[in-house]
């Protein structure tokens, strides 16, 4: 059921909540762009049309997490860092990012019961279909997910790089959210999704009047076709693994880390030891040293293999392992790519017809 | 060529002739000397023996007065005034503690920026020897003189920085320009006994006698000085020296400004030549320089 609330009441409510919750939300830095920050005073909260450069992922899979502290060479005992307990509310999360978190859950927080025998029976020969999720639950990520309530904000004005609808995400989607806000004139319409969401915003606002409801549904229907960019994601791209299409499209790639670090679903990381502390930091498959062996061998030496790996991991491998594409169509990798490589076009125009 | 002129006490009293000849030479050469209105004594030796602060405050007072009439360089003739003003300037520039104390006493901010010049330095460096030479109407031909610089003019050399402290030559050059014949003698910077002249006169007599003796030995007919105290020790005490050492020196002691005045054709009366104890006129007449 939908409720509406004026902007002021909403912000005062957020103010009350900030006593016992840490508030995270988009903040606009002039000339620089919008960044998710830990909000100290509520005015900084920016709930307008633009969306953050870095996805909300950075508050769940942190750019650098301290895993454990080593003894110095010979001292006994390894101390693990305990994940923080403070409850948090993430406000202004876009539907694509929330869906991204759900995708990450299947990697870092796999349902414990799934039949995850290692997919190894060599004799099997045929493509193994059972879910090859990892049996390991990441304590830090799971803790972050548990202690955070997601308050989504429907997309008012997607830009020309967004193509979330082609990936099954709607600008007003609710997957992975506890509460969803719709911007209506003078305030927000609130849709409570989970009881956690009810806990914080349940008693808020008044029933939506009829024509407000009509107006909202009409706006929601039009949201989908606000997106100009539509792409067709092929079922499987196995057939073109060896084609030189990848060489052509990846030629202008400069192997930087923008598309991987800013992607709400990319989750590759590196374990780094620095001065008695083991850190988990972001890493990207576009970097040459990502797969470099100590012996100097590198299974993915050139940009071609590396960019192909990025596309296949998102649109082929993840689908085999977890049944969904590892992409939510947020368009960040297109918007911020310094050489304007558009993954949407690449996947859309992949020459599937060619025989293997 | 404008300067704030600081005569100093002795130029208004015992060394009047030095003041007269300086003024004459100055306006003969077109150098404008504006006497600093109600200047005070520079403290000379007594001040810096008794109280250091006094020995700074007095000269700085004069410097402030000079600054009021426009910050020209200060022209001074007496070696003692010259060295006291210079030392005061150095302290005010380099020593913040003293500067603060003195400025508090005098109630004005002074950083030691006014330049203090001796008249010799002005003649040679500002006016320039090549401009002086053509002005000489009556060169002092045949007059053999010993230039006596005394102690304060060239020392301490890093403060006065007027001339070489062991072998000064500026006055010799001036004498040569005006036609006189400076004698090469070793006692150019030997001490004449200075202010002992009042307290322990016999020291002055001994030292001045040596100086006079050396000047005679080297064939000098007269001694040229640039400091009133040296002049009085050599001139005033000459009869006593003759009596004590049974010598008969009759060596006139000129101020370099007097000789320059003569060479410029200024008549002797205006140069105060009559005020000397040892009468210089016979020698000048003999040399035919009085005409």
């Amino acid at each position: 059921m939908l409720k509406s609330i004026t902007k002021e009441d909403f912000f005062t409510r957020v103010g009350e909540l900030s006593n016992d919750f840490e508030i995270i939300g988009p903040m606009e830095l002039p000339l620089k762009g919008i960044f998710y920050q830990s909000i100290l005073n509520t005015e900084d909260l920016y709930l307008g049309d633009g969306f953050a450069i870095e996805p909300i992922k950075k508050f769940f899979l942190e750019p650098s997490t301290r895993l454990l502290r080593y003894p110095w060479k010979n001292e006994p005992g390894v101390e693990s860092f305990s994940p923080p307990e403070r409850e948090r509310i993430a406000i202004g999360v876009r539907p694509c990012e929330a869906k991204g978190l759900v995708l990450l859950d299947s990697v870092f927080d796999p349902p414990a019961s799934s039949d995850l025998i290692p997919n190894s029976a060599p004799g099997a020969g045929k493509k193994s279909s059972n879910r090859a999720g990892s049996t390991y639950q990441d304590a830090f990520y799971t803790n972050n997910r548990k202690r955070t309530i997601i308050v989504g904000l429907a997309c008012g004005r997607p830009d020309r790089c967004c193509f979330c609808t082609s990936l099954g995400v709607s600008p007003a989607g609710t997957t992975g959210m506890d509460v969803l806000l719709f911007e209506i004139e003078g305030g927000f319409a609130i849709e409570i999704i989970t009881d956690r969401g009810k806990g914080i915003f349940g008693a808020l606002g008044k029933e939506l009047s009829e024509e407000e409801k009509k107006l909202l549904t009409s706006v929601n229907n039009k949201r989908e076709d606000l997106l100009e960019k539509k792409i067709r994601v092929p079922e499987s791209m196995d057939t073109i693994f060896t084609s030189d299409y990848w060489d052509k499209v990846s030629r202008s790639c400069i192997s930087c880390g923008i598309c991987t670090y800013l992607c709400p679903t990319c989750h590759c990381f590196d374990l780094i030891d620095e001065r008695r502390i083991k850190l988990r930091c972001y890493d990207g498959c576009s970097f040459p040293h990502f797969t470099l062996h100590a012996s100097g061998e590198n299974p993915r030496p050139t940009k071609k293999e590396r960019y192909r790996q990025r596309v296949f991991h998102k649109f082929d491998y993840f689908k085999i392992n977890f049944g969904e594409n590892l992409c939510v169509g947020c368009g960040r990798c297109i918007r911020f790519c310094p050489v304007k490589i558009d993954i949407g076009d690449i996947v859309d125009k992949a020459p599937l017809s060619k025989k293997r | 060529m404008k300067y704030a002129y600081y005569p100093g006490c002795s130029l208004h009293s015992t060394a009047k002739e030095y003041d007269l000849s300086t003024r004459e030479v100055a306006n003969a050469l077109g150098i404008e000397l504006i006497e600093i209105p109600d200047w005070v004594c520079c403290g000379a030796t007594p001040a810096h023996i008794s109280m250091h602060l006094l020995s700074l405050a007095l000269p700085v007072k004069n410097l402030l007065l000079a600054r009021r009439i426009g910050s020209y360089d200060i022209a001074t003739c007496c070696a003692a005034c010259f060295s006291r003003l210079k030392i005061a300037n150095k302290f005010m520039r380099d020593n913040p503690r003293h500067r603060a104390k003195v400025n508090k006493i005098l109630g004005e901010e002074y950083q030691g920026e006014i330049k203090v010049r001796h008249f010799i330095d002005i003649l040679i460096n500002d006016f320039g020897m090549k401009n002086l030479a053509p002005r000489i109407t009556k060169p002092l031909e045949g007059l053999k003189v010993a230039c006596y610089y005394g102690c304060l003019l060239t020392r301490p050399s890093d403060i006065t920085c007027l001339d070489d402290l062991e072998e000064p030559h500026l006055m010799d050059d001036l004498m040569r320009v005006i036609g006189a014949q400076p004698v090469n003698w070793p006692y150019k910077v030997e001490c004449c006994g200075a202010s002992f002249s009042l307290t322990k006169t016999e020291i002055v007599l001994k030292l001045s006698n040596d100086i006079l003796q050396m000047a005679c030995d080297q064939g000098a007919e007269a001694i040229v000085v640039a400091c009133p105290l040296c002049q009085s020790n050599l001139d005033l005490r000459q009869p006593k020296i003759n009596k004590k050492f049974k010598a008969n020196f009759k060596i006139p002691i000129f101020y370099f400004t007097q000789l320059i005045g003569l060479s410029l054709g200024i008549e002797p009366k205006k140069l105060g030549l009559k005020k000397h104890i040892v009468n210089p006129l016979p020698l000048l007449k003999e040399k035919g320089l009085l005409g």
Partner: protein, 275 residues
């Protein structure tokens, strides 16, 4: 919630110099509760962490049947291995695992086994060989082909007599080029295989060694009649997390650290894997 990156602290009880750049470390758990619950299969690996230097994957080189200690053979290669080579008895390291699927022991039962090892590749195979020797009745003939660049690079020399004397087990050693007082065969492993011509009926070839060697051994085995499923290899990849999450060790959709490192040749061919 358990921090899956937390290693168990183990102590180095013995260091054996196999070759100039390979050392075998015997590791003993400090805490015997963990020791009991720590069981592994040949072919699996652990992430060995040297405190302050980093972590690297090493396969077990002793058979789980010979319980008391864990053995890992380490070739001096990069930062972690260099630090390990500096260590000697008494130092402590961290161990995390066991990871990976290990050799498919059930499928191998009742088959002739051909072990093809190159250089450091003998380490995981030794674990399997000793395991087979301890359950000798489950397996038919064992043929061990072990090649190395020079005689100095042959590992576990003290095990060779035991292997030769074992029931219908044959051992073939080879070095790349002839050396003085070297009696056994000479030549690269694929050539040696052609000379030995092992029977391919009801038999499985287990190949392990540097990528170059595997690249030339595979066609030879196929030529000798081994079918694609009957050739197993363990892949040596860069593995950081060992949990299938850090995304770097994948071949196609399979993660070497989780779904491997033991793969059949058919799986690899399917994934267009080039060595």
């Amino acid at each position: 919630m358990k921090n899956i990156y937390l290693p168990h602290v183990v102590e180095i009880v013995d260091v054996q110099e196999e070759t100039p750049d390979v050392k075998t470390f015997k590791l003993k758990f400090r805490d015997n509760v963990v020791e009991e619950s720590f069981d592994y299969r040949p072919g699996q690996f652990v992430e060995l962490s040297v405190f302050g230097e980093g972590e690297a994957p090493f396969c077990f080189s002793n058979s789980p049947t010979r319980r008391n200690v864990i053995e890992c053979s380490v070739k001096r290669m990069g930062q972690v291995t260099e630090a390990l080579h500096e260590m000697d008895t008494g130092d402590t390291v961290g161990i995390r695992g066991p990871y990976g699927n290990g050799f498919p022991l059930e499928d191998l039962k009742g088959k002739n086994l051909l072990f093809v090892a190159g250089g450091i590749g003998l380490a995981p195979l030794r674990s399997l060989i000793n395991y087979c020797l301890d359950n000798r009745k489950d397996y038919k003939t064992l043929t061990i082909v072990n090649g190395a660049r020079t005689s100095k690079d042959l590992m576990y020399r003290n095990e060779y007599p035991v292997w030769e004397k074992a029931k219908d087990t044959s051992l073939h050693l080879t070095v790349d080029c002839q050396e003085e007082n070297w009696t056994c065969m000479v030549g690269v492993v694929p050539k040696v295989l052609e000379q030995i011509k092992p029977t391919c009926g009801n038999s499985v070839a287990i190949v392990c060694g540097p990528p170059i060697m595997i690249k030339f051994t595979m066609p030879t085995l196929l030529k000798l009649g081994f079918c694609e499923d009957a050739i197993i290899t363990t892949l040596e990849m860069k593995m950081k997390c060992g949990l299938g999450q850090c995304g770097r060790c994948n071949i196609g959709h399979l993660y070497v650290c989780k779904d491997g490192p033991v793969f059949s040749y058919s799986q690899l061919k399917d994934k267009n894997f080039q060595f």
